[in-house]
Symmetry: C2
Subunit: 340 residues, 2 copies
């Protein structure tokens, strides 16, 4: 009898147990349909019949799901219902973009204490509706369930299309590639720290980014077209997510401290140099895109080079191996969460 | 300021507020893509480019989502992790079938108290994996989040394909149609009552059906091919769900007490005649298919006629208007839930 609880395992270790169980049931029927199985930012599967005598490529659909839980993923004192709706949509659409996909639809599940106000619920709906519309994404459905006292949980599934592009996995980085990022680093983490410190006015942009991430969604397909060898969105911190590409690709992503200096300097006035550096390296919920490309000439507009791929496994900074710190859903208890 | 809480509104009333908010953000971009908007058992949208000069029909994808919450939708004393996994998959696939769709994939979100055992989590995974494989459905992905103490919540999104069939809505029933059902009535409700009474041995089949529903998934596409004018799966009770078709179609579904007699008699030995009748009329979680067809000749194998469509709005029994009783997620508090 296995007496361990989820608190004894990290999220990644738990997934390493669950995914093989789920895969063990998948029989040959799935062979032709599943292009990218669970384990990456999103899965990709083929839909529709292979039309005989038709030149049309099969349609590849991207699917991913991600939830937010009150007092784990947001605090009512810091985020409105609109903020929560915008954020849960953004983080899901980012996972679609990180495969090189174009988001097209989403579904929402709300599990709520019956004492939740109708007002908050409609604010959440407005946040979801506006964020979806801003990216031409359809709201395809939802589910409402009552939950225990005090519980508020929003889960979103996002769907997208590959439009003929090859999905960009975490596992394709090769030694010699360059590492590049699209979007900001550490802003959301610094915003969290400022809210925690009660000083949101010290950097309103960072706080706004914490409340409502702005993933560079169109740059995901751009990176795929440019031939990105690996990609993900930075949801749990640069080091942790770079480590994920490193381990999946069996290479080491060596980041350059110098290349990250502007990001650290951007945040230093508000939070000080040490915390700014920590936010850049390990701040979660940024949802910027981290990708690898064959060389500098292949890096598309919007991305900037922050390192290179070397032999090894994981992540390093100027050649020094880094422990992949950042956010872990089960490893960190809420009081001690190191989100920054 | 709206001071109402979710407990003040029923699930249907709440959806009637939320859906227009979500729709208000949907702009013309969605026009060509969304075939069936949220509000039915599942949404249907078109994916892929319209291939020029190609005879292939556009691919229509069905999507739906449904969650289960511990101590609301299951009790650990009655249901194993495998049972919960099997049930949450079954009820989602039933929603796909109820549109006339063929389920193809699903995604799972687990929000769990970190004190949840790894053992339970793996049992849940086995239940999900086995139920998916039994219907040739791919597990496309998932998300793990920690939740507050005591909380355990599983949310599933199911995807499917229409294979060229027209989606069967709730709103297409016409006066003169016959009403037919495919699958059992009241078994899951009687199983719940027996578990509640501590007498599961009185009808092991009913208890098994409560733990693991067996929706007649292949009969959804059959009904669509046979030209069903309206369809849904009975998740919240025959009267409540018949009323939903009635209201959506602006007709009245008049059910025949005589036609339901065999269903009542099936359950009478275990739970007595009165409760048996209540289970047949208002028992939830059965996930049998309720559909309307132009006439008896169009009713496909597997379905049996239990009524007819008349002028009016809602549901009646031998001509007597019925209040749509059954399960409501927010209207019923857990202690007083009338699931049977």
């Amino acid at each position: 009898m296995d007496e361990r609880t989820l608190a004894d395992l990290g999220e990644d270790d738990l997934l390493a147990l669950i995914i093989p169980v789920l895969r063990s049931y998948q029989t040959e029927h799935a062979g032709g349909r599943l292009v990218v199985p669970p384990g990456d930012d999103a899965a990709v599967s083929r839909v529709g019949p292979q039309a005989d005598g038709c030149a049309a490529a099969p349609v590849e659909v991207v699917a991913t799901t991600d939830a937010m839980v009150r007092d784990r993923d947001w605090r009512d004192a810091w985020s409105s219902g609109e903020d929560v709706g915008a954020k849960v949509v953004a983080q899901n659409l980012a996972d679609v973009a990180a495969m090189g996909g174009r988001p097209t639809g989403l579904l929402v599940t709300l599990v709520a204490d019956p004492a939740t106000t109708v007002e908050w619920t409609l604010a959440l709906s407005r946040g979801i509706g506006a964020a979806a519309a801003a990216h031409e994404v359809d709201v395809l459905g939802g589910d409402l369930s009552s939950g225990p006292s005090g519980v508020l949980m929003v889960s979103v599934t996002a769907l997208g299309e590959m439009d003929g592009r090859a999905p960009v996995l975490r596992s394709g980085a090769l030694v010699g590639d360059v590492v590049a990022v699209c979007g900001s680093l550490g802003l959301a983490g610094a915003g969290w720290a400022l809210l925690e410190q009660g000083r949101p006015d010290a950097d309103p942009e960072a706080v706004a980014r914490q409340r409502r991430p702005e993933p560079p969604l169109a740059d995901g397909p751009s990176a795929a077209r440019a031939g990105a060898s690996a990609m993900l969105d930075i949801s749990d911190g640069l080091l942790r997510d770079a480590d994920r590409i490193g381990r999946a690709s069996e290479v080491c992503l060596d980041l350059s401290e110098t290349a990250l200096t502007p990001d650290v300097e951007r945040l230093t006035p508000a939070v000080g140099r040490d915390l700014a550096r920590e936010c850049v390296l390990a701040g979660g919920e940024e949802h910027s895109l981290l990708a690898t490309f064959a060389d500098r000439d292949h890096v598309p507009a919007g991305f900037r080079v922050i390192g290179r791929v070397v032999a090894g496994r994981g992540v390093s900074l100027d050649g020094i191996r880094q422990k992949p710190r950042g956010w872990d859903h089960f490893g960190a208890s809420p009081g001690t969460a190191q989100r920054t």
